[in-house]
Symmetry: C3
Subunit: 118 residues, 3 copies
């Protein structure tokens, strides 16, 4: 069995799970009291932070699955996203509307390549 | 090409697909005539059963993506989940509300590490 | 770090991302002016086309995650799907209702095994 690396201190879930060179994690905005644009910006910044934490980079993103509370806000998402996503190294992306928790405007599931520990 | 192992007898889908040490499968409650708490309990028990079947364990779960028919029932989910999820070895988890089939209160997509056949 | 192969020319996303023998991509119908049955047929045909493009095959599909704009159309999906999915080599499948873009009746996230470049 290959080793599994888990980050985070919650009993309920791991913040990040890494297995066979692939990291998986979920992000919602740390501060949900703000509007959609701010929540999207926070989530993308949190992705950057997690990538640094696991020794990966924005160029190594494989897949981002996005849930918006209101799909009408996809133009806001695209606006913030387009200035964030690395040219020539974009992940695949899917974005649909789903029911999210109170105050939550956006939730993302991220899959990224990471170097394996030697 | 690495080998792909498929379990199940349906024409429409495989019950489990295993590739490169990663198993993927979907669970809904076998008995959907019961309430949400019972359906959630069934799904988690079915995950346990599948883990045994594929030679994996609850400590090897990587990711669980949850759809609830009604996100208001997340407190019921958390209650059942918290006594099920293995301390220190939790998968990542995402839970949103989506439209599910008639009578279905919860659906989960599971990703788990499995030992490779030697 | 293992190599990552990306297909497509969009700044916003990659059409396909391949890493460690696993390809990930998203399909919506190229022509959304048509009805659900036609959109589903298009998406499955587009999957076939992408499989050829990446040197994989329908027998190598691992997981297909389906979003329908209206879950009442799952019978149409099943009808088209059943004559498309390869007997004995089906992927796992999950299908829920979510809010999709204007005119879009179906969206699929595909995971497939691919031979690694030598």
């Amino acid at each position: 069995m290959d080793s599994i690396r888990r980050l985070g201190n919650s009993h309920r879930w791991s913040d990040v799970v890494i297995h066979r060179g692939v990291a998986r994690w979920v992000e919602v905005a740390a501060d949900m009291s703000v509007d959609s644009r701010s929540q999207i910006g926070q989530v993308l910044q949190q992705i950057d932070d997690t990538l640094v934490q696991i020794g990966s980079s924005k160029q190594d993103l494989l897949q981002i699955q996005i849930y918006l509370a209101d799909l009408a806000e996809i133009s806001i998402l695209n606006d913030v996203w387009d200035s964030w996503v690395p040219a020539g190294h974009a992940p695949i992306r899917v974005c649909v509307q789903a029911g999210l928790g109170t105050g939550c405007r956006v939730e993302m599931i991220i899959t990224a390549a990471v170097p394996e520990e030697s």
